[in-house]
Symmetry: C2
Subunit: 328 residues, 2 copies
DNA sequence: GTGAAAGCGCTAACAG
DNA sequence: CTGTTAGCGCTTTCAC
């Protein structure tokens, strides 16, 4: 900045003003300074600017991982969310700092804020950490979580109508004539729990009882999920339809069924959840419950910026619908 | 920091030293200061630290997008890479700043470095931007690209043996008795071009001619790819095998073939590329060429840190192999 | 319309 | 082993 100032024959203060569009700078000098800066490949140092201004135009995006299987997240839903959040952030002039955090050490998400690297955090999935998340929010860490809305909740939540989603999926299968609908997903996760409620509701509505053996606790991580799902189907349960808690699980289930010689949807109908971009290209194309991923990014970001700006954490719910394709 | 110092009855300098593990601080005071800091939820402000130290423990990870279809990247290969790079970075004490950049404005990747937000950049895929990338590297922007190695190249490249990969895939199909092997991928991309060389090599080796009509220029973006692939197969080309430039393309091809009543691998054998985590769970499980994604992250990061540390850009090549599953 | 000067939170000589 | 001090690159009062 000193260099630019010297060449332009002005002070650093003027350069600063010119570059940040301060009104009290003549159009002429502004232009000249801009040109000089460009020719020097000079850009204002954001770190110093942030330090001086005491704020911080970046937010943290946390990807949790299970410490046991320290594998890269492989659910395409995450990437889509990441992309969508990244876009929304860019549009609002923010940077995105991505960090991988051990799901059992969720408190670490605060460190990004405490250390001034980010002014808030977006977390995809509540995992099993409802209490810790509450603690963080109470401590004043701006925090928005994609997931299900729970009772005593200090953090803001953006999510889709999970119960409705589960209901739509199950009802569709039941209407199609399914008699034994398995539910694949980890009920300890708030989102999944809500979807399961919807699943139960659909059954209740037609007076159908739900057997315990139809609910299978399957984790989201691809590796573990595959084992669990194959194990379940290998026992040849009497099942003619499947409600999966994510598209990834649905795809694994379909593959697993195929290996046993069962066809989808003829022998077993399967509906997924998320409507990941790839779901339409799967074989067979996945019938699934949509999560509006692009809008999700926008809402997550705007909820977070509101909190950072001093507003109250406000939950937002996105509409959901069943996308009919061929797997059910 | 002032507060911590006051409570501990020492100066800010001592707090700084204690917290950064300076050897000249007695174990006792160190411990005491740590405890006080913790009780205050105090963490060193990284921005200020970076400013003072004149360095910057963060690197930029760029996700390019085609400006025409401003859609979130949907290739699972990207997320895997992102996760793998994030892990490698965490292990070496670096942060990761993710930004979405218009593929036609690749120069923007420099801004993260120019503005001091990052000390280097990792880019997945060379896209069509070889020249711009060279310009950036020449300008001194530490830059490592995942992709194919080209002739006059100022930036460092980490990639797998693309030509060998293409060769292995094609040879396998040919050995299986395929007579007309289609190649799906955008030849303008260096990586894909190299794989195509391998594909040609395999054909040459068995004295088989390659027909022009067998090569189909298909972009990586899921939406566009789907259209292109469906369009290609809809014309019912005489094809009994497919070499795809990514697993995503392979999956789309399989789906597309299925819709036309063709079975994989019975009627048409398909081999993918990447070995994304999900490939094994596809229906049918994908035969594919492995890219060692976890190691890729480690190598990308270590190559970049070497450049940042003043070293010469050094290309690295990762071994490749064919993973036999059921699609071919 | 522009400049001088102070200070954001931190670290690293240098001095003791 | 610890404290004093200067300064990283920037913005912003206050003064002219």
């Amino acid at each position: 900045m000193e260099d630019v100032a010297r060449i332009a024959g002005v002070s650093r203060a003027t350069v600063s003003r010119a570059l940040s569009g301060h009104p009290a700078i003549s159009e002429e000098t502004r232009q000249r300074i801009h040109d000089i800066a460009r020719s020097l490949n000079y850009t204002v140092n954001i770190g110093a600017k942030n330090l001086r201004q005491g704020r911080n135009q970046t937010i943290g995006f946390v990807i949790p991982y299970e410490s046991t299987v320290r594998q890269a997240v492989s659910d395409p839903f995450f990437l889509s969310m990441l992309g969508s959040v990244a876009d929304a952030l860019t549009d609002r002039g923010f940077e995105m700092l991505v960090s991988r955090v051990d799901a059992t050490q969720i408190d670490e998400v605060a460190s990004a804020v405490d250390s001034g690297r980010a002014s808030g955090v977006i977390l995809i999935g509540q995992w099993h950490q409802h209490e810790q998340l509450n603690r963080l929010a109470d401590r004043g860490v701006p925090l928005v979580v994609w997931g299900g809305q729970l009772r005593k909740q200090a953090y803001a939540t953006v999510g889709s109508e999970n119960q409705l989603g589960g209901y739509l999926a199950a009802r569709h299968l039941l209407e199609r004539g399914a008699r034994h609908v398995a539910f694949l997903g980890d009920l300890n996760l708030p989102e999944v729990g809500l979807r399961y409620q919807g699943y139960l509701q659909a059954h209740a509505e037609v007076g159908r009882k739900v057997l315990k053996r139809l609910q299978v606790n399957v984790p989201f991580a691809a590796g573990l999920a595959k084992t669990a799902i194959e194990h379940y189907f290998a026992a040849r349960p009497r099942v003619d339809a499947v409600c999966a808690a994510s598209d990834l699980l649905a795809m694994i289930a379909i593959q697993s069924l195929g290996a046993l010689g069962l066809r989808v949807p003829e022998d077993v109908a399967v509906v997924g959840y998320d409507d990941v971009p790839f779901a339409a290209s799967f074989n067979p194309p996945l019938t699934t419950v949509s999560q509006q991923i692009v809008r999700a990014g926008v809402e997550l970001v705007s909820a977070l910026l509101e909190i950072i700006g001093g507003g109250k954490p406000q939950n937002r719910t996105l509409p959901t619908s069943l996308i009919l394709r061929q797997s059910a």
